[in-house]
């Protein structure tokens, strides 16, 4: 008899998730049909290659994954404005890129975001092409803000979901501002409360906010069906989605999403206890968010873009107080759920490497940008799977020859005996055909393990 999920070990859960990943399904639950037996074999080989490097075994060759937001559509001939507002253009450009370049894994086209949904909700955390930045801009850009105020810590700590619903959402989305008028759903405890607790839903501005949510929902439904069609098409050709779920370090939840860089940096001095308590509350939420995506997508990989833990963004003492223990708790939680955390470390993390030794072996993937790769291989090659380090500057301004030389060195040094994925270290919005082709084609040829 098959074991129940909660009785399985972390390793058994992970194997089950990898098996799911290797057998993609359609939304209706039937097997996804492949275009050809070769495409099916290619798909399975790509998942196996990923599994091998995560288990720190030597795969057949160095796997290739390009970290990107708008680069695929850019190289496929469409601007971010086009693909954020026209899913047909997203489909044609993204698919063209994959067919032309053929990396093993792709980062979901959903990362491009949907301009119509942002417009309807009046999203404040971003400026996107045609909304705050020029229509021909190569990407969207973040706007830092204090969406949570210093005095909000007790409310966040007491009830994070209620805080998100009635305080964060109204501040982060202009159209949802009236949601601050609704009462906590936990007020609903006996018949006497039924009437009173729904009164706010009779207030016209609240009703407008709910309409905005429904309109956004309609757009989202049409959009996600297209995303599903794009990804289904790519998988049927043998390409593999690079991640199932996504989450963040608890500190980054506070820093990027809620308090802003300046706010959180000052909080570490003025109210350290509040910061620590808030992160304790966020840890299980972060695990649930990441593992939930992995389950829904039938893909064990959970992507974690790291932000404020990079070298220089805090002292070692602050890192070991405010960043690492909480991040580690999230990673261990994900691993226990059978997920593979894939950490995306833009910038450099040279001063943080020793901490990674504390992690369970052969369980996490770390995509580095500007860190010291030779040192990482030596120090952590038997603990973590390593990826990345092809510089954005080289991709955008370099030549094919320079790219080949760079990749050769990475394969020789970091790829030695496996445990490495060829990747760039930052989420690209643009690229140069010549260098991107060189990176992929050269790795396929030179990166074969004998």
């Amino acid at each position: 008899m098959e074991k129940k999920w909660e009785e399985m070990s972390a390793k058994e859960k992970r194997d089950a998730r990898f098996a799911d990943w290797a057998s993609p399904k359609l939304p209706d639950g039937n097997d996804l049909p492949f275009q050809s037996p070769e495409a099916k074999a290619e798909y399975k080989a790509r998942v196996q290659r990923y599994k091998d490097v995560i288990e720190l075994k030597k795969p057949d060759r160095v796997p290739i994954m390009l970290m990107a937001t708008f680069m695929p559509s850019y190289l496929g001939g469409a601007l971010p404005y086009d693909v954020m507002y026209d899913t047909e253009k997203l489909k044609s450009s993204f698919t063209k890129y994959m067919v032309d370049y053929k990396p093993d894994y792709y980062i979901t086209p959903a990362f491009a975001g949907n301009g119509k949904i942002f417009d309807i909700l009046d999203y404040k955390l971003l400026r996107w092409p045609g909304h705050g930045i020029s229509k021909d801009s190569t990407g969207y850009q973040y706007v830092e803000g204090e969406y949570m105020l210093p005095e909000d810590y007790p409310a966040l700590i007491e009830d994070p979901s209620d805080f998100w619903l009635r305080t964060y959402m109204p501040r982060a989305f202009g159209a949802l501002e009236p949601l601050k008028m609704i009462s906590p759903f936990t007020n609903q405890w006996e018949p006497v409360m039924v009437g009173p607790s729904v009164i706010p839903f009779g207030i016209p501005p609240v009703q407008e906010a709910l309409k905005a949510l429904m309109n956004a929902g309609n757009e989202a439904m049409a959009w996600i069906q297209q995303i599903g069609a794009i990804e289904g098409g790519l998988m049927s050709m043998g390409f593999v989605n690079g991640a199932g779920g996504a989450t963040k370090a608890p500190f980054d939840y506070l820093a990027d999403t809620l308090r802003g860089s300046k706010g959180i940096m000052v909080d570490m001095y003025r109210r350290p206890d509040m910061v620590l308590k808030a992160m304790e509350r966020i840890i299980p939420i972060a695990i649930k968010s990441g593992a939930g995506g992995a389950t829904m997508q039938r893909n064990p990989v959970v992507f974690l873009p790291l932000h404020r833990g990079a070298d220089g963004f805090m002292s070692d003492e602050q890192f070991r107080t405010f960043y690492w223990p909480q991040l580690k708790a999230v990673l261990v939680g994900l691993i226990n759920e059978g997920c593979v955390p894939a950490l995306f470390c833009e910038g450099s993390y040279n001063s943080r490497l020793e901490y990674l030794k504390e992690l369970p072996k052969a369980s996490t993937l770390w995509v580095f940008d500007r860190s010291d790769m030779a040192k990482i291989k030596k120090l952590l090659g038997k603990t973590i799977t390593i990826a990345g380090n092809v510089p954005a500057g080289l991709i955008v301004t370099g030549t094919a020859e320079q790219m080949k030389a760079y990749c050769k060195n990475l394969i020789d040094v970091v790829g030695k005996d496996g445990g490495y994925i060829m990747a760039n270290g930052t989420s690209m919005d643009d690229g140069k055909p010549e260098t991107v082709h060189a990176m992929i084609d050269f790795t396929k040829e030179y990166g074969v393990y004998k």
Partner: protein
């Protein structure tokens, strides 16, 4: 007494530093002297940042404390304070890019190291750099950028400076996110600084001081 404020602020003791300022003002102490002490304290903060003793949160926090001190002192100041500056630098995040954290750190470090910095802000069109160089006679220009789109904007800014006939009058340094030597060559800038300290070193090397 004077020494206390410098040390407490440099050590980022917010409450104590503000108490010292308040009691000095109450006792009729010179507001300009208080600001001068604060400036010396921030020089120490900058030095500790250069020595990797302090990190970005320490800079941000010191700036927050300084803001409060300035708020307390400002109403009592009657005439402007003369600070001797070693040179002028025009700084900004280039067109299309709205990131400011890195640029602000360089501005902070140049300022505490004695430079007069003209901070043009974010998403700065090339012409605005040209105009500011003409207006101020600055000898150093710092172009900041976080995104890869900044490579092209930096190149265009360098070209605009060249077209205005100012290329030989200024030294141009670039930095931020994904900037490296490869990008420096692409943009035609004179140098790339991997962090704020490098930026200060470059400016000092060009201007002296």
């Amino acid at each position: 007494m004077a020494k206390d404020l410098v040390k407490t602020l440099a050590d980022l003791k917010e409450k104590e530093a503000l108490e010292i300022v308040q009691s000095r003002l109450k006792a009729g102490g010179s507001p300009l002297r208080i600001l001068d002490d604060a400036r010396r304290a921030l020089e120490i903060v900058g030095k500790r940042f250069s020595d990797c003793e302090y990190f970005i949160p320490d800079l941000v926090y010191s700036g927050e404390i300084l803001k409060q001190i300035t708020d307390l002192v400002k109403p009592k100041i009657t005439k402007g304070q003369e600070v001797k500056r070693i040179g002028k630098v025009v700084m900004g995040t280039v067109a299309g890019d709205i990131h400011d954290i890195g640029k602000d750190i360089v501005v902070f470090m140049l300022d505490v190291n004695g430079f007069e910095v003209f901070d043009l802000g974010i998403d700065v069109p090339a012409q605005k750099f040209v105009d500011k160089i003409k207006e101020t006679g600055s000898k150093v220009v710092g172009l900041s950028g976080f995104l890869t789109l900044a490579f092209e904007s930096m190149k265009e800014t360098v070209e605009a400076i060249k077209k205005a006939g100012l290329r030989n009058e200024v030294k141009i340094m670039i930095g931020g996110g994904q900037i490296d030597d490869q990008v420096k060559t692409f943009t035609g800038a004179d140098a790339y600084g991997k962090d704020a300290m490098e930026g200060v070193k470059l400016a000092k090397g060009w201007i002296g001081g």
